[in-house]
């Protein structure tokens, strides 16, 4: 429980600075410090128990299905790191209070910082490795925010993104690795996993698992070749650099290696991979650091180098190496953080961090100088400072390390590395503090306020204390921590300054003296460096990233080029492919149903259809012709429906076609009348081929099904239509009753189509569309808009048509017909008026609100369906009854007719609304005033009244 509290305190406390900042920066800093302090105190309260050797765990399930749980445990290692994180945190909070200028949002900074702190603590206290992953990713994220804190600076933004991407990539590898580890070990709890070391080591998946996990660790801890992100992260404010990039986050990778040390260290692969990677990192880091002129850059690469050192130690796989590693983690944390802070102070005071422009600060800012020199001495590995001790142990371990049978390899290389690090340490200290003072400082540098150098001082104390009395001061911590790492009793060792004339001593001396010489010969060394090619990781990274982005754009923008023919082509090809595979991979037998003999009219109709289709294929660019031909197709299809006993379909098809034709004609009037032939022959062949294949496929499927018998549920419909549905026209009964719900959806589709058309046209009267409309020049052929004879004819037809419609509607339930067809006939009758006398004139007389009609239609259909609920029957339950009226006699009334009425109204409304809308556009496009009269030639009681130009 308490562990969770420790972890959650920074998270929950994170909001406090955001609120506290209102009451000033000091209060904000105090509040934030208080949060961290609370966590630290709570943690340390457990220290005695841990040092008594008992491991405390706590766990609640989170997502059992994948083994994710909120489980924490505390042992020496966890305690050590957690304390390190929180303790450092306190100092950083204090330091940042003074470091950040008053126009930096301090509250936000502390907010990010606490989130980061919580994530770090979470990593080191998690027992469940999936939970650890959560915190791991959170550190990447929060460090992204912290590095990008000064988001105005390009360097910060790029550094932040680089850090996020590199560590994020590592994090993804780690996810994979951890999941595999969990599956191998059969548990996601570290405590369990540590028990199952041998199971893991014997697994065939060991190597991939190890590599993936190391991928995570190496990226986080900036190991070669992933080391390049760390220096760029130094664009962050110095407190961030000091905290994340020297003391804590970069140690997360080391922590992971330490945590899983007992599992992996015994394996050959571990040593062969980790040790050299650490060594190389150590060398390269040191070498680059030596030539950095920016203090922070120098420290950054030095950090890389030291992380390499620790990694190598873990990689060596011996208990004593582990002890040395732990010891060096402590020491490095102290002196490096101190140095970062001093660098920050110098930057603050001298206005620059460029070694070449610094000098003589010893006299100008003595306190800072003294503290820095001590820390630098430790970094150089000079005796009496803590850096010396752990480095000594490291050299000792390396001294008798044989890699791939080569004895000298490790000893020599580590000595060189140590030598270089001595050199850059000297360079750091001497050229900053001792070199002749300069006079070009923006303002006289002097020691910063107490609060700013205090943290440095606090850090320098252990540097000396440990350096002089290691066994007393650091002894127990190192022991318990190392114990937790190794997981078994440690061999004898002593933390002492003097180990006698061990090889390490000589290596150390070589390193120091050599370092001094190298610093003295700095100019030549630099010349030597410049002689060799120096790959710039940043440039490579940028190149790769922009290549990725540009590549992605190339891919997307060439494939998603907005060409519908291509899209449709690909989709249709995919359909063909899948369909073909599906058909060919299953047994198929020809049908046995008796074929209907061909008849002459059918053959004739077929010829007509085929001829029309083929003509359409070649002449579709003459759009009016295409339309006329399509009407022909519709005619044949309707006849086909009649031929094969589907009168209702024929009626529907016939009436739908005419309305469609008129819609298309209206549209075509404004659209281009012909299309240019611009498709290449090849393209046409390709499309033709695809079309042909699809046509063949569909035809073949149709034939295959038509030629076999089958059992269908519709026998029930035939049987029940009359007794159950009260109608003899089974199709209609199905539509309004058995499957009335389909019809309900169907009329809603129509309704939506209409109101969408309405909305579409509604905004065509403004903007670009309106401009186009105005620019359209109609070459009106005839001046005769409303031919008299046509007008008169349609006037006679209207009442007849309506009568027919009424008839079709009423008989629909028993004979071919129904609400839908009736609605279309009414619409057609009205369209006739529009055609003859013009939309404007006719619309004035049609007192129908088509939108209301649609709404009413849907509502009536819906309510007709709902009515049955009141009688305890489901939606759309129909009933019918026979009433015996005087004179008229027995007539049957089916409740489904109400539903059909809804259909009727919707259809009329939809057609009328659509046509009305398009007519509005047409009107807008008209050039000359159109006669609003019913007929252009107006004859009255023997007098003729000319009426041209009579606009309404």
């Amino acid at each position: 429980m308490l562990l969770t509290v420790v972890t959650l305190t920074p998270f929950l406390g994170a909001v406090i600075p955001l609120l506290a900042i209102r009451y000033g920066r000091n209060f904000c800093a105090l509040a934030t410090g208080a949060v961290t302090l609370t966590a630290l105190v709570l943690l340390l309260s457990q220290a005695p128990g841990v040092y008594r050797g008992d491991v405390m765990t706590w766990s609640v399930p989170w997502l059992p299905m994948i083994g994710l749980s909120f489980s924490f445990f505390l042992d020496g290692l966890g305690l050590f790191f957690a304390a390190l994180i929180l303790g450092m945190g306190l100092l950083i909070i204090l330091y940042a209070r003074y470091y950040l200028s008053s126009d930096d949002p301090l509250g936000l900074f502390y907010f990010y910082l606490l989130l980061f702190q919580g994530a770090m603590v979470g990593i080191v206290l998690s027992d469940n490795i999936l939970l650890l992953l959560v915190f791991w990713e959170l550190t990447s994220l929060t460090s992204f925010l912290l590095i990008g804190y000064w988001s105005a600076l390009p360097k910060s933004r790029q550094g932040a993104r680089m850090a996020l991407i590199v560590t994020g990539a590592g994090g993804l590898a780690l996810i994979a690795g951890m999941l595999m580890l969990g599956h191998i070990a059969g548990s996601y709890e570290i405590t369990e996993i540590l028990q199952r070391g041998d199971v893991i080591r014997s697994s065939p998946l060991l190597l991939p698992t190890l590599l993936l996990i190391l991928g995570g660790a190496f990226t986080k801890s900036a190991q070669f070749p992933f080391h390049f992100w760390l220096p760029h992260a130094m664009a962050a404010p110095t407190p961030v650099s000091a905290y994340l990039h020297s003391a804590t986050m970069v140690k997360a990778g080391l922590f992971l290696m330490a945590r899983l040390w007992p599992v992996f260290a015994p394996t050959e692969a571990w040593f062969l991979i980790v040790a050299p990677v650490g060594l190389i990192t150590m060398l390269i880091g040191a070498w680059i650091a030596l030539f950095k002129d920016d203090l922070k850059a120098l420290l950054a690469f030095s950090t890389v180098s030291h992380l390499g050192l620790i990694t190598m130690l873990f990689g060596l796989g011996t208990p004593l190496a582990a002890v040395a590693a732990v010891f060096h983690i402590i020491n490095h944390a102290t002196f490096k953080a101190a140095l970062f802070m001093s660098a920050g102070i110098i930057d603050h005071e001298a206005g620059t961090r460029d070694i070449r422009r610094l000098g003589g600060l010893l006299t100008l800012m003595p306190i800072t100088a003294t503290l820095s020199i001590v820390a630098a001495a430790s970094m150089a590995g000079i005796p009496l400072f803590n850096g010396f001790l752990s480095k000594e142990m490291m050299l000792e371990e390396a001294a008798h390390t044989v890699y791939a049978g080569v004895e000298w390899l490790f000893p020599v290389l580590v000595t060189i590395a140590a030598l270089i690090s001595a050199a850059y340490s000297f360079r750091f200290a001497i050229s900053t503090f001792f070199a002749p003072p300069r006079d070009d400082y923006p303002h006289q540098p002097h020691d910063p306020p107490f609060g700013m150098w205090l943290p440095v001082a606090i850090l320098v104390v252990p540097v000396l204390a440990i350096g002089i009395l290691p066994a007393v001061t650091a002894g127990p911590i190192v022991e318990f921590t190392a114990l937790a790492v190794v997981g078994e009793a440690l061999p004898d060792y002593t933390l002492a300054i003097w180990h006698g004339l061990a090889p390490a001593l000589f290596m150390s001396l070589i390193a120091l003296s050599g370092g001094a010489l190298l610093f003295a010969a700095y100019r030549y060394a630099n010349a030597l460096r410049l002689a060799f090619p120096r790959p710039d990781a940043k440039r490579i990274y940028d190149a790769v990233l922009s290549a990725v982005v540009n590549g992605a754009r190339a891919i997307i923008e060439t494939t998603h080029n907005g060409s519908l023919p291509r899209y449709a082509g690909i989709i249709l090809s995919a359909i063909v492919a899948v369909g073909a595979v599906g058909f060919l991979n299953a047994p198929h037998e020809a049908g046995t149903r008796t074929i209907i003999p061909m008849s002459f009219p059918a053959g004739g109709a077929w010829i007509v259809l085929a001829a029309i289709c083929i003509t359409l294929l070649f002449w579709h660019r003459d759009r009016l012709l295409a339309l006329i031909l399509t009407s022909g197709v519709g005619l044949i299809v309707s006849l086909m429906f009649l031929q094969f006993s589907a009168p209702d379909l024929a009626l529907t098809q016939i009436s739908v076609d005419v309305v469609t034709t008129i819609l298309l004609l209206l549209a075509l009037n404004l659209l281009p009348k012909t299309a240019p032939t611009k498709t290449a022959m090849v393209g046409r062949l390709g499309r033709g081929g695809l079309a042909a294949v699809i046509g063949l496929g569909v035809g073949a499927l149709a034939y295959a099904v038509m030629t076999r018998d089958f059992q269908t549920i519709s026998d029930y419909h035939l049987a029940e239509a009359k007794p159950g549905g009260g109608g003899t026209n089974v199709v209609n009964v199905i539509l309004v009753d058995f499957r009335g719900f389909d019809t309900f959806g169907e009329i809603i589709v129509l309704g939506i189509a209409a109101i969408t058309i309405f909305a579409l046209i509604d905004n065509a009267m403004r903007g670009a569309a309106a401009r186009t409309l105005n620019s359209i020049r109609h070459s009106v052929q005839s001046k005769d808009a409303h031919p008299l004879i046509l007008v008169v004819a349609t006037r006679i037809l209207l009442p007849l048509a309506l009568t027919v419609a009424a008839f079709i509607f009423l008989r629909g339930h028993n004979e071919p017909g129904g609400g839908f067809i009736a609605g279309l006939i009414v619409a057609i009758a009205l369209i006739m008026q529009y055609l003859a006398s013009g939309y404007a004139w006719a619309a004035q007389r049609a007192r129908i609100d088509s939108q209301a009609m649609i709404g009413a239609g849907i509502a009536i259909a819906g309510l007709a369906g709902l009515a049955s609920l009141f009688f305890g029957w489901p939606f759309l339950t129909s009933t019918y009854t026979h009433v015996d009226l005087p004179l008229i006699g027995d007539i049957e009334i089916a409740s489904a007719i109400a539903f059909d009425l809804g259909v009727f109204l919707t259809v009329v409304g939809v057609v009328m609304l659509s046509l009305a809308q398009i007519s509005r556009v047409e009107e807008r496009a008209e050039r000359e005033p159109v006669l609003r009269g019913p007929m252009d030639v107006q004859l009255r009681q023997g007098r003729i009244v000319g009426s041209n130009g009579g606009g309404a």
């Binding site: 009436s655 034709t661 209206l666 047409e922």
Partner: protein
């Protein structure tokens, strides 16, 4: 006898339809095509009525009726389009 007559008629109408098709495709001008389509519809009506007689059912008459109305409307629409462009001004 009626059946025979029907058969003859079917052939005659079928032939008529093919002639219409010829006009429809050959044109030359759009009004001609429209007229051809109109005639095609008229023949279709005849065919429907004939089928009605042949099968002795009156179920198909509404189809014929509708063909008559719709054929007229379609033809007029096309002509109006040729005459005015906007068929519903």
């Amino acid at each position: 006898m009626i059946v025979l007559a029907c058969t003859v008629a079917v052939f005659a109408i079928g032939a008529a339809m093919l002639l219409n098709l010829y006009r429809l495709l050959v044109g030359p001008d759009t009004p001609t095509r429209v007229l051809a389509l109109d005639t095609l519809v008229i023949n279709a009506i005849a065919l429907v009525v004939l089928i009605g007689i042949y099968y002795g059912t009156s179920i198909y008459f509404e189809a014929a009726l509708l063909f008559a109305m719709v054929g007229f409307l379609t033809t007029v629409a096309y002509c109006k389009y040729i005459l005015r462009g906007n068929v519903m001004e």
